[in-house]
Symmetry: D2
Subunit: 284 residues, 4 copies
């Protein structure tokens, strides 16, 4: 029995749900999950559907082809159909901070993440030994002011070699170049250590401390050309008070960063996120 996930978005119109669910019924699919959302302002319809295909004569390729010719055309849909058994391939980008890396590799080893991690790429060599401890290939691609093009080319070559589907910046301390962003649109996940849009850019814990906030946060988002302005996937917060120093903020923040990044990875890997108007629809 095959299990598939379908993601759809299109202009909101009457009868979409009826049409899609009728289509699934016809191909003898058993819907195990369905959720939909209408952005009333923008008049856009979103749907996420999981189903089991009980008829062995229907292949996923047939299904895609049928869906494309009928429903998808009728409603002018943007859509994706995934075989749930195919785990997406995820590249990890890191620099010197190791806490998110340890957390992701621990979860990966414990079988919590529905991904494959074929490669870790870094602009420094500091974390190589961690990658080796978890038996994952590690490539150092240094970045300086003068070698940006070369560095980007090397990154892209590695991503293609390892057939990477999406990228996770686990406290990667280097701006992602425009070509790479274009190549992986809505497929690069960053963790920023503040509750955006508060404290974008560098040293957010220091800024938060200076402002005297009572709450700190972390934000995972898709990377776009505008720094820290991409669609937010997940956020969480922790309470702080006058007794906490900047170092306490940083230490408390590590837990936030771990959790908020891990949640975003899971949501993306399980195809639960859709992006529209620089926002996410997160089916959870």
């Amino acid at each position: 029995m095959q299990k598939i996930t379908i993601l759809i978005h299109c202009k909101d119109q009457k009868g979409i749900i009826a049409a899609v669910t009728t289509f699934i019924a016809k191909v003898e699919g058993n819907i195990t999950y369905i959720d939909q959302h209408v952005d009333v302002e923008q008049n856009v319809f979103f749907m996420r559907l999981e189903c089991e295909l009980t008829n062995h004569h229907i292949t996923i390729d047939n299904l895609k082809s049928d869906f494309d010719k009928t429903i998808a055309t009728d409603f002018d849909m943007s859509w994706d159909l995934y075989n749930q058994e195919q785990k997406p391939k995820m590249a990890l980008f890191v620099s010197k901070y190791d806490h998110c890396l340890f957390d992701i590799l621990g979860r990966y080893s414990a079988g919590e993440l529905n991904v494959e991690i074929p490669v870790i790429i870094s602009n420094h060599n500091d974390l190589r030994s961690i990658a080796e401890r978890f038996d994952i290939p590690f490539h150092c691609v240094p970045f300086t002011k003068d070698n940006k093009e070369e560095g980007e080319a090397k990154q892209i070559e590695l991503l293609q070699r390892y057939q990477i589907n999406f990228i996770v910046l686990a406290r990667y301390m280097q701006i992602i170049t425009p070509n790479l962003i274009a190549l992986y649109e809505n497929k690069i996940i960053n963790i920023h250590h503040s509750f955006l849009p508060a404290f974008p850019g560098a040293k957010p814990y220091h800024s938060a401390f200076k402002r005297g906030v009572k709450i700190i946060g972390a934000t995972s988002h898709y990377v776009t050309a505008e720094l820290d302005e991409g669609p937010i996937i997940e956020q969480d917060i922790a309470r702080v008070s006058h007794i906490h120093s900047v170092d306490d903020f940083i230490m408390k923040g590590r837990d936030l960063e771990r959790i908020v990044l891990a949640r975003a990875i899971k949501l993306h890997a399980e195809r639960k996120t859709m992006v529209y108007s620089n926002k996410t629809v997160v089916f959870s």
Copy 2:
């Protein structure tokens, strides 16, 4: 234009969603919200749907009748269909604590609650002046060991006189009698001042303090014959520490009680809750 809400539950079967959404399309209804849930263990399907009726020739009564004869019969559904303009009538039961009463009446006066409150019933006279301040009829129905039947009869008479649809126990300190529970099945909402199932019964803050918990909570639930065992609608918590006394627990708990009860009232009044197997499905 009429707006309606439909709640459905039935045995899970293929094609329900397709059938319902096709039905709505046929009567020229515009679905503005739809959500569904399948309890896989129990094999039960739940759906909540909001739609606008754009065809003025179709009355709600016609619709009900059509729905009943076709879809509802085909799938052997339990269902309700509400006109969104008809606010449910809610009775408030109180005793001596005033904080939930003030909170509910404040929200009511501010237009936050989609209800009418035609009557406040209490087993004491202490809060009469608050009811008067908000111009709501107040009836004192004392309860003693010896007059339970009489008290219950008086309560039921009042509830019928005021055509009450559901009851909210805003820190009402008296056991609800079985006949009343039977009459208002899944329509009596209580607020219990602990995160159930921890600390059921009397004096939960004292028990929580004694146990040295680091978190206190509050729980709103539908009242059943088993004390504090009914279907949970909403819960929330607050952090406490060794510096807090029992009185601090009680004071912090007041905010929890207010919020958790108010959320339950809103959910129930907007027909977002369904009860099954002593649990709630909450469409939010």
Copy 3:
């Protein structure tokens, strides 16, 4: 038996705690609460102390005088000493939103707030009937572009007439004038409907919705000359998702605003806040 609260801040030095606690022991005071904080960066010491005076021959005035001449002089302290029985007098400023007003007056009537509320001042007449319902004098002081000086003068006259100690802006939609801020330095509490410093200024819920945040917040702070830049007293947040409209944000935010403002009022009224470097020390 008299109960007092002492607040102290001064340059951090060795022996302060020993000196203060020895002083209290000498006057036969029984310390029931003591907390202190050192801002290491700024080298400032803060202390909050509650004690019971068991010797009836020692008046609060004597104590103040003694403290001033000895410890306070030795350590060059800024300090305040309060008789716990004297409730601070709080003025409420409102405009048209009623939810915070209902919440505060409900808490006030329920005896939760250690304050007196002798007056409500508004730039509109809309909420007059609520004030009357709670038997609190209501004064309308309209503000237009042309009458700012006159309006400010009238406000100050009222604040003096009612001997107001601190001011709470319960969604007061009018900029506070510089003279009033100067007169009530660190004694005007505002509630802003975002987790500052995100979304300062007007329409924060709309901005939050547009940005696609997954968390909204509210912030209570002391008012300074810089709009929404004053020392933060308390913040809290609520989760939102793609299913929530701007109106949902606003509705969820009402609960945040109520709670966060009420907590700030309690902290201030119980003399648990101190301000330094545009931040608060909150002894809780």
Copy 4:
């Protein structure tokens, strides 16, 4: 410069704080942190103090001896004095679940925990390879109904060989024997996967699911002879709803377990916890 931490508890009496802070001043100590708590009900005083010893002629042993003879005797104190440079030695007990183990070892490797981990002890061999990956000795001490005494003896022998100061049960699925509990009183930390006292014992997520709670939790506590009844160190919660299956509860719970156990380890390792009346005082 040496840094020390002092923990004190004794009967509450006038003048303790003055005496202790005066003592520190005399030995030229610079207090960098001080916090105290009075359990009014039980009339017990608790204090935690950190200070820097600036006088090189005063050794920690001298200090201990002086303190013991003077203050500690005067006030009949229970007390401990720690050199902050001496990291406590922590043994990890595990069984088959790996998520807490990965989390702790990741944090340990990242330098977040102020401990040494000289040994991992398990009743199964499943997690041996993880221990090896992090270069930590792993000992399998099987437990069956018939070998409990032998197993306990082997555990105690290992704990002594590695000079273990405290034990962390990272989802160790075996009851700790009374002799071991007696040997490490208030020094064995367990993580239980519910917000105790709700759902003690086995399969708490299943019980929580069955009860239909809207919040799940995790609790770290010191192990006592009564199962899941020991002093609570830390708790946290996560929201769940009708859409979550038992497996979802378990998956969400893993993050709670990780975080709540890690916080307890940090608090214990930094000597921020004190136990009294089956409760903890947590200085944070």
